[in-house]
């Protein structure tokens, strides 16, 4: 009697649950694009955080004065036009009419001045270029910029970049945040944030009062009006779950997929897998700590002794997703052409490396290579590097930390000798972190600082290119860090997704959802 009742209960429960399995999956909602990213960035304030993903997700909400088309030409953005003075020191931007923030307030020159002053004093590119600049509001639609000296890259710096874009926020939001990062995400962009469940998802809807930049959509330029109504960004930390969710149609797009899942996903006819340039992989030396790498011979030994193909294969698995690169800039940045050092790159000459190491006076002192498991590609690269360095005769111990401990350890000048750095692309070489004298471990070299100072005052691209070639030559001779190559980010999408474009990251407003 008793157990019969029990069985009846179980049967009833099963009967109630069975229909649930036949309710359709949620992804294919009409008019909603569901995109899975990894963990939520800790901040979405592009003026403050240097995380690239924060910046590129935020560009659905925030906009900039100017934009870049697919060929990296400057195009109008919130500024519909601009005039540059003959001496190149004064810019006069005319703002687009009728632009409203997502809270309904109109965009005014004061908002632009407040935003760009903040960006100029908070962000790395802002401080690099605009720390002495003066922004002013004139009338109802004019913003002026006064520079102490002309620069060739003023407009490029104001366009969307991979990190720390010069986005425009309401002056009231900036005032409310004070010196802390903003947490109110109010912009003028094509999507308006309507629901944000921290670390889980962001629900954005097409902004009905959006003022289009007009023109053909290209890169981040042109008309940004989305053809679908809602954009849901889901933060899915587990990368296997992101891959599986893409397979089952839970997500329309899954970004930053594990490299080793690409081959499996490509077997699925309903999916497309692609990639875009992610960042550079370097082996950095700690110049703040006295030791063997003060000697150029030791740095050169590492440079010529390691085998980069194996390191990048460990990091990114498939040659489609990595490229060897000895240059400071990424290969896709065609505006910075150079062939300095290409013929001498990656000789993998272990015998010559061992002789150089001997000449450096290295006697087997223990060396610490730090890395983090939180970025699988960095960690895998570090494992292979450790083995290769040991093969050259360097007594290298690998220390792996969680991300927070890793960045703290990296800032401690006595805690390490070698580090695997992943650097994001920058619009000009002087913004690269491994050349910034204040960045942990970076050398303080007079020749480097002289070139960087001259670069700050280059008023034409021809002068900048000449300095870039000098910088490349210095990099080749000094070996401040060992360049290994560049890796991609892999993403997958269902065939329901059409028209997706990429510039630094996915441009989600370009997507058309097929029925």
């Amino acid at each position: 009697m008793f157990y019969r009742k029990h069985l009846r209960c179980a049967a009833l429960t099963a009967a109630l649950l069975m229909p649930l399995t036949f309710i359709g999956n949620a992804a294919a909602e009409d008019g909603t694009l569901v995109v899975a990213y990894g963990a939520q960035p800790p901040s979405f304030d592009p003026h403050v955080t240097t995380l690239s993903q924060a910046n590129t997700i935020a560009r659905n909400i925030f906009e900039t004065l100017v934009t870049l088309d697919a060929d990296l030409n400057i195009q109008p953005g919130l500024a519909q036009s601009w005039v540059v003075s003959e001496d190149g020191r004064k810019y006069r931007f005319t703002l687009r009419h009728g632009v409203k923030f997502h809270d309904g307030q109109p965009l005014t020159p004061n908002d632009v001045v407040a935003s760009l002053q903040r960006w100029g004093s908070s962000s790395l590119p802002g401080k690099n270029l605009f720390h002495e600049a003066k922004w002013s509001a004139e009338g109802s639609d004019i913003v002026t910029l006064d520079l102490p000296s002309p620069r060739f890259d003023v407009l490029v710096s104001l366009a969307p970049g991979i990190t720390q874009s010069a986005v425009i926020m309401p002056a009231s939001v900036i005032a409310a945040a004070g010196e802390k990062p903003v947490t109110q995400l109010i912009g003028t962009g094509p999507f308006r944030l309507i629901d944000w469940q921290a670390d889980r998802m962001m629900e954005l809807e097409r902004y009905n009062d959006y003022t289009s930049f007009g023109g053909k959509q290209s890169g981040t330029a042109g008309d940004r009006t989305p053809t679908y109504s809602n954009l849901r960004i889901e933060f899915v930390k587990d990368e296997a779950t992101r891959s599986l969710g893409l397979s089952t149609g839970e997500y329309d797009i899954a970004n930053q997929l594990p490299f080793d899942s690409a081959a499996e996903l490509q077997k699925d006819d309903t999916l497309r897998v692609d990639s875009y340039p992610g960042g550079m992989t370097n082996l950095g030396f700690n110049y703040n700590k006295p030791g063997v790498f003060e000697k150029k011979e030791a740095r050169q030994a590492v440079d010529i002794g390691i085998e980069r193909q194996a390191i990048l294969t460990a990091a990114a698995v498939d040659p489609r997703f990595f490229r060897l690169n000895n240059h400071l800039m990424m290969r896709y940045q065609k505006q910075w052409p150079t062939d300095v050092g290409e013929t001498e790159f990656n000789p993998n000459d272990t015998e010559a490396a061992k002789k150089l190491l001997q000449a450096s006076g290295y006697k087997g002192q223990p060396l610490v290579l730090i890395t983090t498991r939180d970025y699988a590609d960095m960690y895998n690269a570090a494992i292979v590097l450790q083995q290769q360095l040991q093969g050259l005769g360097l007594n290298v111990k690998l220390e792996s930390y969680d991300w927070s401990t890793y960045v703290k350890t990296r800032a401690d000048k006595n805690a390490w000798d070698l580090v695997v750095n992943g650097g994001s692309p920058k619009p000009d070489p002087t913004q690269l972190i491994f050349l910034k004298r204040d960045f942990p471990g970076v050398p303080h070299d007079a020749a480097l600082e002289d070139m960087v100072a001259k670069f700050q005052h280059a008023d034409t691209i021809a002068k900048a290119l000449d300095l870039y070639r000098q910088l490349e030559t210095w990099n080749q001779n000094y070996v401040p860090s060992v360049r290994i190559g560049e890796t991609d980010y892999v993403f997958g999408m269902s065939k329901r997704v059409e028209g997706l474009q990429v510039q630094d990251d996915l441009i989600l407003w370009t997507v058309h959802l097929k029925d």
Binding site: L20, T21, K237, T241, S404, S424
Partner: protein, 319 residues
């Protein structure tokens, strides 16, 4: 009973004070800090130090502790460094999915373990008993993430019955919400069912040796009634203790399951707070979980006191 209850509750005050100090110290001992995390991997040290100052991270330990504990005693657990939302609101919103999952997982585990454990005890050393022992062994030794991924591949990827991951509030849309909870429930519940099945079997076996069951059998009580109504009921105390422990551990958040199924529960909130060094969130969540454990302990103590008068009278010297 009232004085016993007050005595138990009063004992919690010093425990909570010590725990609060330990939580605060441990959080600050971990290397790294939220300013570095907010500013990202390419931040310069000068900017990190500036933000640390603005956030008050460079203030002395005791000032920070007193600032935090004075808020806590007034019911204010602080505000997250990252999302600017109150810690209490975050705990509340993340505790709901965890509680839903815990209730479903424990219900599913009970629905399996009670009949299986009881019948395995009845047919001791039979093929059925060995099969159940095999099932419980697999459940106990299988890592939860492996079981989760097998379930996802089978029921989501191959059969397309259930979503891979995610969470929808069952109070908003019951059918859709339950659908998202089935896979994590099966994954977690199967593991707890293994533990409970073994406990049920062992407890029922103990009771089956009792003479009063022979007496009942001789009076003509049917075997099934004897087993489920008499033996199981009297074997209840260790089973209830195990259910309580399992439930408490589920309420503390099943970190791996929540991560795989992308459920915004208390476990994922805690892990994210640790990863980011979000001290107010980390301290608030750990304090909350401590209170849950202490609260459950007090409830268990009170229940024992209700059941067994010797427990509540022991303080008065009665043997």
């Amino acid at each position: 009973m009232l004085s016993y209850t007050l005595q138990r509750l009063g004992a919690l005050v010093p425990v909570l004070l010590v725990v609060s100090l330990v939580i605060f110290s441990l959080a600050l001992l971990a290397p790294g800090d939220p300013a570095r995390i907010i500013l990202g991997p390419e931040a310069l040290e000068v900017d990190v130090v500036k933000l640390q100052d603005i956030m008050g991270l460079n203030d002395p330990f005791w000032i920070r502790y007193l600032r935090w504990i004075s808020g806590v005693v007034q019911g204010d657990l602080g505000v997250s460094y990252f999302s600017n939302r109150s810690v209490a609101a975050a705990i509340q919103s993340h505790f709901i999915p965890t509680a839903q999952l815990a209730v479903l997982a424990i219900s599913y585990a009970l629905a399996i373990s009670i009949p299986l454990g009881t019948l395995a005890a009845r047919w001791r050393d039979s093929f059925f008993d060995h099969a159940i022992a095999g099932f419980t062994l697999i459940g106990l030794t299988f890592p939860s993430f492996v079981l989760s991924l097998i379930l996802v591949i089978a029921l989501s990827v191959w059969l397309h019955w259930l979503p891979v991951a995610g969470y929808r509030d069952p109070f908003g849309s019951p059918l859709v919400g339950l659908r998202y909870l089935i896979l994590p429930t099966l994954s977690l519940g199967t593991i707890y069912a293994s533990v409970l099945t073994r406990t049920v079997r062992a407890s029922v076996l103990d009771v089956l040796k009792s003479e009063y069951l022979d007496a009942a059998r001789s009076r003509g009580v049917k075997e099934n009634r004897l087993l489920f109504a008499h033996a199981l009921r009297n074997a209840g105390l260790p089973i209830i203790t195990m259910i309580g422990l399992s439930f408490a551990s589920l309420l503390a958040g099943a970190v791996v399951t929540e991560s795989i199924f992308n459920i915004p529960g208390i476990g994922s909130l805690l892990v994210t707070a640790i990863e980011r060094r979000d001290y107010p969130m980390l301290q608030g969540v750990v304090l909350f979980l401590t209170c849950i454990y202490l609260g459950l302990n007090v409830i268990v103590d009170l229940v024992y006191g209700l059941i067994d008068p010797r427990v509540r009278l022991s303080g008065k010297g009665v043997q």
